[in-house]
Symmetry: C2
Subunit: 463 residues, 2 copies
């Protein structure tokens, strides 16, 4: 091996996307190399997915929310003018078409435990797991925004910590549906015997909870993974504990190796405290990369991208996610002192900054974490060092322009990573489920709380 | 023209499907020529869709419900053993992949106004309209079954007529979202001017109704059709009136030309009474066809299919749809005297039959309406005569085995219809939206109640 450092594991490579025109950098939709204005077209997503699939990415991740910017009770004009989180289409509906056109790429999609009915949501994910042949993950979010409450006509805004109590019960019910209703071998599809399924291997789910009630059978027969791979991002205490109990992939926030390393350590402690193997949860952090002939060349490209950022759109986008208008604050205020019922995850990123610093940083970077610059070799080396310094298992790659930033990365960085043995060989992983890619097994680990709901093959007649 | 009769219009051809193993004929999943056990695989649906697309079908229709058989508070074992409406996957998620693989086939999918949130449902259909480039329809149903109420943990079962009041308000809200939030030319995507959308051409939807409340902007930018083509089937008085106000394609029930003709007349009267052009609503009726060398040969094939019908599964399937166990009734009871809070549409099919006759007929035919037998030429001729006798605009073709029944139809019947000028020429209709296929225009007709919510291009600044 010619590699200057020897990584200990394959780095997971995800692509972070939204079904809209701006991916966290508000205003960048207008860059000449940006093709996100084609987000409504399946041909655009097929192009992106094929680049990722052939280029060695492990998954394509879709963030989503029904929310859009809202400040002082109104949506400022700049949100529409810059396409800041509005317009936006449903990302889930894109995925099966992308799965049909790819052979090893996995997919993660976001749905909210506050606004989707658990039964319908579980049937959608079971269907996706069938259609993608086990290449699906569910990014579990709790919805934070007042604006969404008003879209759905809900009567009350649920407090932050209660949202996680709801989410916890929602997942328990989802596990019962996905793991507990049909036994693994319930479906025989035996035409000779004229038996499609053994009735005694299909079980009613009875759930009488605080937030949800249900009685009945799950519509969908067992799919390759049963439960989709569970993704979660949450920097609040309630969010981290929820992730430690349920998640298999966790997105961490952070822009320096030390803070990410501390979060990885904290996460693994919480996972262990939840009774699970601390290594069974994969930690992933956001990463952007600007590939140039050298770092200066890359910096010039970054400066060009940054010249498209619209500060007013960034301001309302931040307010959407946190409920806080950074421009209205005392510029010297320490952001750490702020508290909000909305997303604590986004706010936590700016602990220790003043309001002015946070605003400047957010306008430039949005939710991007690490932004690496340099040649492909250089960026690959920086990524390997970040893995060594932080203990993360991979990165969620956030492009500046699409599909150009993806092409740059797969053409220049992935081969350099591969030469160092830091990612899987080209074409590896075809025919396996997402969970097999992560853990070697298609099914939830036995120490995962969902696994206890599975009835593998009961040997006796019961109902 | 060599045609013995001269049809006055192209006959609409739809394919009636469910994302499960039995399409109305319970037990037929086990036939050697039946491939529906592959329903969980995208490759199966791609195969079906390509046959339909290349073979001259206008649309692929997916029925759906979260419900499954339930009798006396239990799901009889035979439902699982015969795959009678369970298992079943979400059909909506299949559609974009099929649209990507076809060029002229349109798609219709069912969702319920009782259990899907209006905002989420409208965003899904707007997304589908984008991804399919205007080739989508929404079959609007009101959910009837107690079993679904218990899956969703709802507190009360809504009475039949109130379900249509809910559906009416649901559609009014959906029209506001789909037609009224974004003006047609709101999106400029002008990179030079750095304006994605004109903020003053995006409008808040305020809805304070009896059943739904919402305030805010719609997520999705204008799609080719804006509102999907509206499908409806409902034989009850409330259902027919709802269809007359809102539907653009209506499924009628009936197994003889006279009763279908009477329904077509009734429908057109109701449509006119609702202030709409009576010809703007397309009437479609179910049709199965068995193609053989002659009628006797076709009958032998039908007898073979019928030998796979499972009477017990048919019994619980009927009970699921109507709440009535036909086997438990006095065999001589006139079915017309029965009344149920569940689907009146299914029950109406058996007006005038005794319980014993209805059970026998339902076991053999399920929800099939006309079952034609003969050579391709013969069936084409029978279809043309049915159109002349009834005034229907087309048929929803219900296969016995898939994809075999589709292949038979496109290989033998469609060419015969085409030779008579009764369907569009091969390949016609590529690049047009579903509504253009039906009416010549991609948008709701001006006399449709949804059209009044559209703000085409407002000339003045407003909000």
């Amino acid at each position: 091996m010619t590699s200057p450092t020897t990584p200990t594991k394959n780095i997971l490579l995800g692509a972070f996307e939204i079904n809209g025109v701006n991916l966290t950098s508000q205003g960048l939709w207008a860059h000449p190399d940006q093709h996100t204005s084609r987000y409504t077209e399946l041909s655009y997503w097929l192009e992106v997915a094929k680049i990722l699939d052939e280029g060695g990415f492990d998954f394509l991740f879709f963030a989503d929310s029904y929310g859009y910017p809202h400040m002082d009770g109104e949506t400022p004009d700049v949100a529409f003018e810059q396409g800041a989180e509005i317009p936006k289409n449903d990302p889930m509906l894109v995925i099966p078409a992308l799965a049909a056109a790819t052979s090893r790429l996995n997919f993660a999609v976001t749905t909210s435990t506050t606004y989707e009915a658990p039964y319908a949501n579980a049937r959608r994910f079971a269907t996706l797991d069938h259609l993608t042949q086990g290449r699906i993950a569910w990014n579990v979010v709790t919805t934070t925004a007042t604006v969404v409450k008003e879209l759905f006509g809900s009567e009350r805004l649920v407090p932050h910590d209660e949202r996680y109590a709801i989410a916890e019960e929602y997942l328990q019910l989802s596990y019962q549906l996905l793991e507990g209703s049909w036994e693994d071998d319930a479906v025989r599809a035996d035409k000779q015997a004229r038996v499609y399924a053994d009735a005694w291997k299909v079980h009613k789910v009875h759930h009488r909870g605080t937030y949800f009630q249900m009685d009945g059978y799950f519509n969908s027969e067992p799919s390759p993974q049963r439960t989709p791979v569970i993704f979660q991002a949450g920097a609040s205490s309630a969010g981290m504990e929820f992730a430690a109990r349920n998640a298999e992939v966790v997105f961490l926030q952070g822009r320096d190796a030390a803070s990410v390393a501390a979060q990885v350590t904290k996460l693994r402690e919480l996972v262990a405290a939840a009774g699970r193997d601390p290594q069974s949860v994969k930690a992933v952090v956001g990463l952007s990369a600007i590939v140039g002939t050298d770092r200066d060349d890359a910096q010039r490209r970054l400066d060009d991208y940054m010249s498209y950022v619209n500060v007013d759109a960034a301001r309302v986008y931040f307010a959407q996610m946190t409920g806080i208008d950074l421009a209205s604050l005392d510029p010297d205020l320490d952001v750490s002192t702020l508290s909000t019922e909305q997303s604590r995850t986004q706010l936590a990123r700016f602990n220790g900054r003043t309001a002015a610093e946070a605003f400047d940083e957010f306008a430039k970077r949005g939710m991007r974490e690490f932004i690496l610059r340099g040649s492909g070799e250089d960026i690959a080396q920086q990524m390997i060092e970040l893995v060594e310094q932080t203990g993360v298992d991979g990165f969620n790659y956030t492009p500046f322009v699409s599909p150009g930033s993806y092409r740059d990365f797969v053409d220049k960085v992935v081969p350099a990573l591969r030469a160092r043995g830091a990612v899987a060989p080209a074409g590896a992983g075809a025919g396996e489920t997402f969970r097999e890619r992560l853990t070697g097994s298609p099914r939830l680990a036995s120490d995962h709380p969902g696994a206890r709901h599975n009835r593998r093959n009961s040997s006796q007649h019961q109902n």
